[in-house]
Structures are given as structure tokens and as C-alpha cells.
């Protein structure tokens, strides 16, 4: 939306509307004629996929809320009624529960994409920060939603997480009781969690609007990280990216449907089909898979308060990332050292997830032979997680020599990713083009 709109209302009504509320123009400029870099790959389809995920969660969630009873005596049974007696209730619930996992799968792809192509750098800092806000809200929504079916993991997960606030000095106890609405996790807690679980997705929808607004000011980044220079670098969003996103969305839905119809329980935990019982602690309390890396970071610190601080810092560090990475080059395609560190970063996130799922003193397969248990693994990977943001990215900008980049997006499309040897007139790019 750089001011030069190409929308032309064709009927008297649209002309009348356009002079009063130019909403069709907004849609046209944002999703039809929006100039989009011509070299976006499939990693760029996850934004559209995420919008679909949010809509799916809201629609299935509203239907579930018509049948769900937020009371500790009836919640579990009401979920069973949804599964057994509500028409297609089993389908709606399965979509909602699997949908939460698919939402996180997509958001992780989306975030790693941004980390690799340097999408958090100027001029997209606000866009990135809004994304991190959405991610935080998603985690809150998913945690609150997981409490609603009032199974053993719901109850004990809520107990563990709310108790983390008890680690705060002085205000710990009042804050925890304020969250609970009583002296333990109980009916008041369930009621407020339901209310907030209903609210947060709409907050997410609001932040998504800001996120897309902040996207449409500087425009998309792209796999080369090079800024759009001329109109030859772009294509109109429609039909080029509507069709590409559409294809990716349907492939994603195929995987989604595979879980919904053939393995609705594999992503969840069996214990959550046991009704909550405050007197019986499960042998192992684990969060859903998408929160496991943070659980591993929490447990990596022997001190409870320290663990809580580190866990929140793991997300907090993402907010300041745009100012931690000192490299002038956006895309890691042209950053021979950074891409290795990035690869290890992805592996360490997966490893943290694994460590979060296992008991801390279980020996790690293979590495167990030299005495490495999951606690140690979690600690080492936690250190790497923070080092990546706080040491590696700040230092690399000074020591790394980027490889030569093409002069423009158009050139990278027409002549490949190396700078043109001759003919295109561009030649090798000076090593320090600002922020590309």
C-alpha cells in the first residue's frame, strides 16, 4: 500500500462505496494487485496456511463452546458427550485438538523461515515483533484450551504452570491465588480459563491484521533477502501467489486430515482421557509437544525462579533479535557461516523438545554410553539456544564474509543465484550493500 492504488471501481455502486469506505480498494491493493517478489518459495506459503488454521480453530471452537460445560463436575463428561452424542461432535473436536498441533507446526515453519532469510531485519522489525506477540498468544490459548477437557494432564499441567508464578519473590503467592481465583486449581480457575481461551483467538485475529499491515508497508522479504528494486522484481499477488498458496494450503490440509481421521490421538497424551483427580499425581506431567522445548529450558535450571526466568527469556530474546543480528546481509543463502549455526539451532530446538518429553535422568540413546542424560542434553542445548542469539549472531556480523549476491531479484531468477558473469550489466555486488 504505497499510495499508488490501481483499483478502478467499475459500477456506480462501487464508485459510490469507494468514495465513502474504500474497503474494496483495500482488499484489491492488499490481495489482488499487491506487488510480491517473484521468487518466493514454498516456505512463504505458511502465512496463508496460518490464516486458515486460525479460522479453523475459531469456527470449530465456537461450535465446541455450544456443547462444552465449564464446570469441574461436568467438563470431562461434556467432552465425552461431544465425542459420543453430538452430531459430528467427534469430528469437530478432533479437528480442534489436531488443529492446535497443526497451527504450531505451521508457526514453527514460519518462524524458522524468518530466521533463515533474515526477515526480522530492517525494515521489518515491527512485523517480526508482532509475529512474536502472536506466537505468545497462541501458546497462552493452547495452554488454556488444554485445561478445558479437565483430564489429568489438564489439571496437573495447569497446576505446574500456575505454580511457576509462585516462584516470584514476595508477590508469588498472591499472584498465583489471583490466577486461580481461589486457593488451588479449581472451578473458578476452569471458568476463567474458558473465558480467556475464548477471548485470546480474537486477540490473535486482531494482531494478525496489524501483522499483515506491517507486512504490506515494506512488502515481503524473499529468499535472496535483496530488496525489491523495480517492478520486474515482482508479480501481482493474484493469480501468481493465490494459486501457489492455494496448492500449499490443500497439501497442508491433506496432512491435517490424515491426523484428524486416522490418528486423532497420537499428538495428545493418553492420561488426558482420565478425569482430573487432585489426589492422584500422574507419573509424568508433560505439556503438549509444541511446548516441550520451553519445558526443557525450565527444567535445565536447578533453581525454580531461575528456570522460570530463563523460559520467558527464551521468548523474550526473540523480541530483540532484530538488534542482535549485526550482519548487513539478510538471507543466510549468502552467509556461509551463519547457515551452519542456523542448522545447529534447528537441531537444538528439536533436541530440546525431545529432552522436554523425557525424564531428566534417563540416559540419551547412544550418548548415554558416555553418561549423557536428558538433563545434561537439555542444559547444553539451552546454552546453545541462547548463545545463538546473544553471542553467535552479534559476532558473526563482524567476522563473516558474505558470498557474492545477485544485483536484484530479477537477476537471481533469470541467471541463478550467483552474480551474473557478464551481460546483465550488474556484475558482482559490492560486499556491503546496506541491509540486504
Amino acid at each position: 500500500m504505497s499510495g499508488n492504488s490501481t483499483y478502478e471501481p467499475k459500477t456506480p455502486f462501487t464508485r459510490w462505496l469507494d468514495a465513502r469506505l474504500p474497503i474494496v480498494r483495500l482488499g484489491w491493493d492488499s490481495f489482488v494487485d499487491f506487488p510480491t517478489p517473484r521468487n518466493l518459495n514454498y516456505w512463504y506459503t505458511f502465512g496463508g496456511i496460518l490464516s486458515v488454521c486460525l479460522m479453523v480453530q475459531i469456527i470449530t471452537g465456537i461450535v465446541l463452546a455450544m456443547h462444552y460445560v465449564p464446570n469441574i463436575d461436568y467438563a470431562f463428561a461434556s467432552v465425552q458427550r461431544i465425542d459420543r452424542d453430538v452430531n459430528y461432535g467427534w469430528l469437530i473436536r478432533s479437528i480442534h485438538a489436531v488443529g492446535a498441533s497443526m497451527f504450531f507446526l505451521a508457526v514453527y515453519m514460519h518462524i524458522f523461515r524468518g530466521l533463515y532469510y533474515g526477515s526480522y531485519k530492517a525494515p521489518r522489525e515491527i512485523l517480526w515483533i508482532l509475529g512474536v506477540v502472536i506466537y505468545l498468544l497462541m501458546m497462552a490459548a493452547a495452554f488454556l484450551g488444554y485445561v478445558l477437557p479437565w483430564g489429568q494432564m489438564s489439571f496437573w499441567g495447569a497446576m505446574v504452570i500456575t505454580n511457576l508464578f509462585g516462584a516470584l519473590p514476595l508477590i508469588g503467592e498472591p499472584v498465583t491465588q489471583w490466577l486461580w481465583g481461589g486457593f488451588t486449581v479449581g472451578n473458578e480457575t476452569l471458568n476463567r480459563f474458558f473465558s480467556l481461551h475464548y477471548l485470546i483467538p480474537f486477540l490473535i485475529a486482531g494482531v494478525v491484521v496489524l501483522h499483515i499491515w506491517a507486512l504490506h508497508v515494506p512488502g515481503n522479504n524473499n529468499p535472496t533477502g535483496i530488496s525489491v528494486k523495480t517492478s520486474a522484481d515482482t508479480l501481482p499477488f493474484h493469480p501468481y501467489y493465490t494459486v501457489k498458496d492455494g496448492f500449499a494450503i490443500v497439501v497442508f490440509l491433506l496432512i491435517f486430515a490424515g491426523f484428524v481421521f486416522y490418528a486423532p490421538d497420537v499428538l495428545g497424551h493418553a492420561d488426558n482421557y482420565i478425569e482430573a483427580n487432585p489426589l492422584v499425581t500422574p507419573a509424568m506431567i508433560v505439556p503438549e509437544w509444541y511446548l516441550l522445548p520451553f519445558y526443557a529450558i525450565l527444567r535445565a535450571v536447578p533453581d525454580k525462579l531461575g528456570g522460570v526466568i530463563l523460559m520467558f527469556a527464551a521468548i523474550g530474546v526473540l523480541f530483540v533479535l532484530p538488534w542482535l543480528d549485526t550482519s548487513k546481509v539478510r538471507s543466510m543463502r549468502y552467509r556461509p557461516m551463519a547457515r551452519w549455526f542456523f542448522g545447529f539451532f534447528v537441531v537444538s530446538c528439536l533436541g530440546l523438545g525431545w529432552a522436554g518429553a523425557e525424564l531428566p535422568d534417563t540416559l540419551v540413546p547412544v550418548l548415554g554410553a558416555i553418561g549423557v542424560d536428558f538433563l545434561l542434553l537439555g542444559r547444553v542445548l539451552t546454552i546453545y539456544y541462547f548463545a545463538y542469539f546473544l553471542v553467535i549472531l552479534p559476532v558473526l556480523g563482524f567476522v563473516e564474509k558474505p558470498t557474492p549476491r545477485p544485483a536484484s531479484i530479477e537477476e537471481s531468477v533469470l541467471y541463478g543465484d550467483k552474480p551474473a558473469k557478464s551481460g546483465s550489466g550488474a556484475g558482482a555486488v559490492p560486499a556491503a550493500q546496506p541491509a540486504e
Binding site: N39, R81, G166, L235, Y240, V243, F261, D265, P360
Partner: protein, 273 residues
Amino acid sequence: MNKLSKLLAVAAVTVMVAAPAIGAGYYRSPEPYDWSFEGPFGEYDRQAVQRGFQVYQQVCSACHGLKHLAFRHLGQEGGPFETVMVDGVEQSYANPNDNPVIAAIAAEYLISDIDDIGETIERPGRPSDMFPYPFANEAQARAANGGAYPPDLSIIVRARHYGADYIRSLLMGYDEEPPADLDIRAGSYYNPYMPGMVIAMAPQLWDGMVEYADGTEATTEQMATDVTHFLAWASNPHMEARKRMGLMVMIYLFGLAVLLYASYRKVWSRVKH
């Protein structure tokens, strides 16, 4: 903070930090069994579910409830009595409340109710009634079972790791000598499949204890398999409908993906990329 919540908080944090120490044990993975309901096209074996229901009624229902199930569920689509023989003709009923076999099963139970002058009464069950709980309350259930609580079986297959394989192995897993270092108190039994390897449920199945309506020989293994099959249905009553719809959805989405891919190729053939 009151005492209970403090206790819970401590317990939660202990489990979080020290979970390894408790409950782990080296209990055995269940023996895998080739269930007819596994796989993308798997279905329940109606005969096995019917036999399993008989085992539940005659054995397990003395201690275990089935509180999320009503009698009518037995006659709904995908249930064991969806089609029944009436006067030698196979019949099916769109409304399970009209199903005479379901009505007969329900009528065998006494359900407590309040009549129209407010008296508490016991009346024969109807298809719409939920399965009655064998005890007056949890305290009575524990008192009758040496302090242990027999869990509700409505969703037991979904509520245990390894699902049906675990339940079947557990029911058959009593015939071994406990290891010398395991302390088995009176009222407890060694069962290598149970986490912790000690269970408060005595062995329940003995060869020939049930006389199957369809004449199948009631060995311990047969009964364990059948009752597990029944419990698998009870935990996932819409599984067959789910898989059937899944097939249509997958075919539809796959076709749509092919069409969209073709459009994508066509649209992008106009520009170099």
C-alpha cells in the same frame, strides 16, 4: 495458601523435577495383537464386540462402571447390536430406542428413579438410561476393593498407552512368579504389564467362566481379547464412520491438490521463475 493446595503444589513440583524416581519401574511392553480395527480400513468385529459385552456384563460390571455409555449406544451405527436377528430376520433400527435387543438388555438392569409422587423407586432400565454404576459411591467402591478404586472403563482404551494391546495383556498377565525383590502385599497381585508391576485387581478371567451365546469356547485368552474389543468400541464408538469419511475427504483433497498444482503450473508458465 491452605494445606491441600500447598501439598499439591509441592507434589506437582516434585513430580516435575524428580519424576524419574517414581512410577517408572521396568514393567513390560504389552504383547502386540492383530486387531481387526487397526489400520485405515479396519473395522470392529461385531461378534467379538458382542461377546466382549457379555464378558463385561457377567464379570467386570461387578466392579467397573461404564458411565459415559447409555444402553442405546449399543444399537447405534457402528455398535455391536446395530443389526439384530428378530424372528430369524436380520433387522436394523434407525432409532436404537426401538431396537428390541437393546430394550431387553436395558430391562435386565434396575435403575433408581423418582416417580410422579416423588418416591424413590427402582424400575427396569430403558435404552436411554446410562449404564448404572455398581457402587453407591467411590468410598463404597474402595471399601469393597481393599482401598483400590476400579476405574471407569468407558474410555479406558484411549486412556492407556498402547491402548487395546495393554488391556488385553494386562488381563492375561497374572500367571507369572513375581521377582524376588518385589514386595507384594496382601490384596495385591503381580502383573508385569501394569506400571509399577503391582495391581490391586485380582485375576478376573478363568477358562470357561462365561458361556458365550454364540458357542465360542471361552478360554482366558478369548475372553480377554473379546472384552478388550468391546472396550475399544466403547472408547471409540464412531471409529468406523470416522475412517469412512476420512477416505472421502482424502480423495477429495487429493483431487483438489492435483487440480491446483496443474493451475499453478499453467499460471506460472507465463513468467520465468
